[in-house]
């Protein structure tokens, strides 16, 4: 799985970090950072939840 955040859509609501803190982090500068662009399988469910609950639908994943 590959994870990408579209920063033109992202408004830094931080919902993704709430669901998958190992994968996403909203930094002090309000920019969402993908900490693990290729997260391990045990985090995939959390990432999918983050994708579906992103308020701005700004997270995109490519499944292997």
């Amino acid at each position: 799985m590959k994870v990408r955040v579209d920063l033109d859509l992202c408004e830094s609501h931080g919902v993704c970090e709430g669901h998958a803190p190992d994968v996403f982090h909203v930094g002090d500068d309000d920019v969402t950072v993908v900490l693990l662009p290729e997260p391990p399988p045990e985090l995939h469910d959390a990432v999918r939840t983050a994708v579906s609950s992103c308020p701005k639908q700004a997270i995109f994943v490519t499944e292997d």
Binding site: D28, D29, K56, Q57
Partner: protein, 416 residues
């Protein structure tokens, strides 16, 4: 015994029932007719359309919110009625637009609404909360709406925009008319629409005079940022600024006011949870605030319109069909929330739709609203752990389907 055929959510009578009865009506719809057809309200002078489909299930509201290319906002989002487009945009700014126009305007504003950009405002939130709470400290009983929940978000927005406090009452009165749903308390005569337009014009004039001043005398405020372009920066035109301010004044005020007022009512009904929260402010504030937003659902609905023939949960829709998403119902959907009619400040996870569903129109002010609610309840519970309501909330008396679940008054006692 009420049956599903007795329910008409366009009818004023549905919205003047006690809150529990409204919730029971929506529970019945979710169970027996989750996508239900209702007639459109009659505003007099505006053609009455064919009707709308009420969406009451979490999954359907989620799906519609996430697919703006199928379910658009540009044909109306704040009423089932098709008002003339220029009138809708005047009142609704980018919440009645679709991309790319929506994305441009929201983009200009959203850069100023991230937690970092709001840092100064967020510091002000604590200052204003303390100021208001200091102001009631020597009182026994207050009207909670008048002393706390109305002035709090309004002062924050006025400070944020750089509006002098002398204009506070003007903005409050205008907001009450625009969102009052025709409640006679807020209107001086019979010309409901005329007064609503007049109130909106007052806000536009206020912010444009302010913008004129800020052009010459830039300040550390949102108005200055929205009109003063850095090189290559896109800014709002005077007309766009006017409509944005109507949206901000209305959406940013009434919602927090309603959530604070309902929240105080629920805490009074659940004294064990109030004590729990007061004893665990650091750990429970986040979940308690989410639960208040879920339970109170300050925004009743938003509408979308089908841009093409489509299917939703097995129901076939034709191009032009209108759906109205009932957020409070979706946030009490038995398929998603355990014991949904129980107020539970420890509820987690809490995927409520009180700020709308995921998608382009998700509440821009969610950061600010969460901060306002957290700070005010913390401040109140620290200072007055025994604070409680001594009567029921006096709800808005709408003349039909209301956009908000407003609270006009709530008598509150500060000590046991």
């Amino acid at each position: 015994m009420t049956t599903v055929d007795d329910i008409d959510i366009t009818d004023k009578a549905f919205w003047t029932q006690p809150l529990e009865d409204r919730q029971a009506g929506f529970a019945l719809l979710r169970r027996e007719r989750p996508i239900a057809f209702f007639p459109e309200p009659d505003f007099g002078g505006i053609p009455v359309g064919p009707g709308y489909w009420a969406l009451t299930k979490h999954a359907d509201v989620l799906e519609v919110s996430k697919t703006p290319e199928v379910w658009c906002s540009g044909r109306g989002s704040t009423s089932p009625t098709d008002f003339p487009p220029e009138m809708m945009e005047f009142f609704g700014s980018f919440i009645v637009m679709d991309d790319p126009r929506h994305a441009r305007l929201r983009g200009i504003v959203s850069r100023r609404f991230t937690p970092k950009s709001l840092e100064k405002v967020l510091l002000d939130v604590q200052k204003i909360a303390s100021e208001l709470v200091d102001g009631i400290a020597d009182r026994d009983e207050i009207d909670f709406v008048q002393e706390i929940s109305a002035p709090f978000p309004l002062l924050i927005i006025c400070d944020m925009m750089g509006i002098p406090r002398s204009e506070y009452q003007t903005v409050l009165d205008a907001t009450n008319k625009i969102l009052g749903g025709g409640d006679p308390e807020f209107f001086s005569g019979e010309d409901f629409m005329g007064e609503v337009v007049g109130a909106a014009m007052t806000l536009v004039q206020l912010v444009n005079e302010l913008a004129e001043f800020k052009r010459k005398t830039p300040g550390d405020d949102l108005t200055t940022q929205l009109i003063n372009a850095e090189v290559d920066d896109d800014v709002l035109t005077p007309q766009e600024l006017g409509s944005f301010f109507i949206l901000l004044a209305v959406a940013g005020n009434d919602t927090t006011r309603t959530a604070l007022s309902h929240g105080m009512h629920y805490l009074t009904q659940n004294p064990d949870q109030k004590a729990d929260w007061a004893a665990n402010l650091d750990t429970l504030t986040t979940s308690a605030v989410e639960e208040i937003v879920r339970y109170a659902a300050p925004v009743v609905f938003m509408r979308r319109t089908a841009t093409r023939d489509t299917v939703l949960s097995g129901h076939e829709f034709s191009e032009g069909d209108k759906v109205v998403m009932f957020y409070g119902s979706a946030s009490r959907d038995e398929d998603v929330f355990e014991d949904p009619d129980r107020f539970d400040i420890r509820r987690t996870p809490n995927p409520h739709l009180g700020f709308g569903g995921p998608g382009p129109h998700f509440c821009l002010g969610a950061h600010l609203a969460r901060r306002e609610l957290s700070v005010m309840f913390r401040t109140l519970l620290e200072r007055f752990p025994d604070i409680h309501a001594t009567g029921d909330p006096v709800l808005l008396d709408p003349q039909g389907l209301p956009l908000v679940t407003g609270v006009k008054r709530l008598p509150v006692r500060l000590s046991a």
